[in-house]
Symmetry: C2
């Protein structure tokens, strides 16, 4: 480290561009993991994973969705959802029934157990709110910025 490196602060700008701490994507990646770790103990009580919880959230908002509908709501494809829904079915939270009027489709429906979980899972909301420990305005601004970024990144996808 002696002598062979005369780099001064001014020269470091380009080198720093590739630094981990500078990467927005890494910040997002890290927070996603942090959220996952925060949710895990809360969801473990119900035997749910975070993606499974997302599916239930979607169904609590609107029951009787097709696999495709859930996929569009969550940004997941059948390769992810088919086995996930099978596990949710095995666990007794949802049932999957072929649509009689279009047998290609599978209608995913909440069971009583799945529907009943909504009330119990309400406590998760408050726990997550507490864990974030930031103001509503901050959270709302961040959500909005991420929403824009998500849309922007999606735009560049279809090329």
């Amino acid at each position: 480290m002696t002598g062979d490196n005369d780099m001064r602060k001014d020269d470091l700008k380009e080198g720093d561009a590739l630094a981990l701490g500078q990467q927005l994507c890494f910040a997002v990646y890290s927070v996603a993991h942090a959220f996952n770790r925060t949710y895990k103990p809360l969801l473990d009580k119900f035997g749910l994973t975070y993606p499974q919880y997302l599916v239930l959230l979607a169904l609590w908002q609107q029951d009787r969705m097709t696999v495709k509908g859930i996929g569009e709501a969550l940004g997941l494809d059948s390769g992810t959802l088919s086995p996930l829904l099978k596990r949710l079915e095995t666990a007794g939270f949802v049932s999957r029934i072929r649509d009689k009027s279009d047998e290609r489709q599978v209608i995913v429906t909440l069971t009583q157990k799945g529907a009943g979980l909504k009330a119990e899972a309400f406590g998760i909301l408050t726990e997550i709110g507490k864990a974030m420990g930031c103001s509503m305005a901050e959270a709302a601004a961040l959500r909005s910025a991420l929403h824009d970024l998500n849309h922007q990144l999606g735009e560049n996808q279809q090329s």
Copy 2:
């Protein structure tokens, strides 16, 4: 809005506040996937996955790290890193050598191929910058907010 106390709006706001953390989490989750999709075609050219690219970013910043060191930098454990590093070694980007002075440790070192890739990676930055379609200032602000959130979520973890 301040000081105006409209009963209905208050109810709505309370519901929003409760759900905000959850929505923020989903926004982060979605953007993480969106970034992954944006990076994929860029990294495919080099035969890299995004987590593998993260490891190289860490090594470009500081070469000769232990598995544990890389894990701390990226928030990953040996269960993820061991097979990943094996693939990076097979692909010729890094080499793994047992530390002679402490044979428990494995020192991960960039090969010439791995080190040489850094120059080409600047092109990825430009592409990502374009895809994000926001100013440096915006990106920096978002990164800073995510950094804070990550720290905050981490605080609540240690119980």
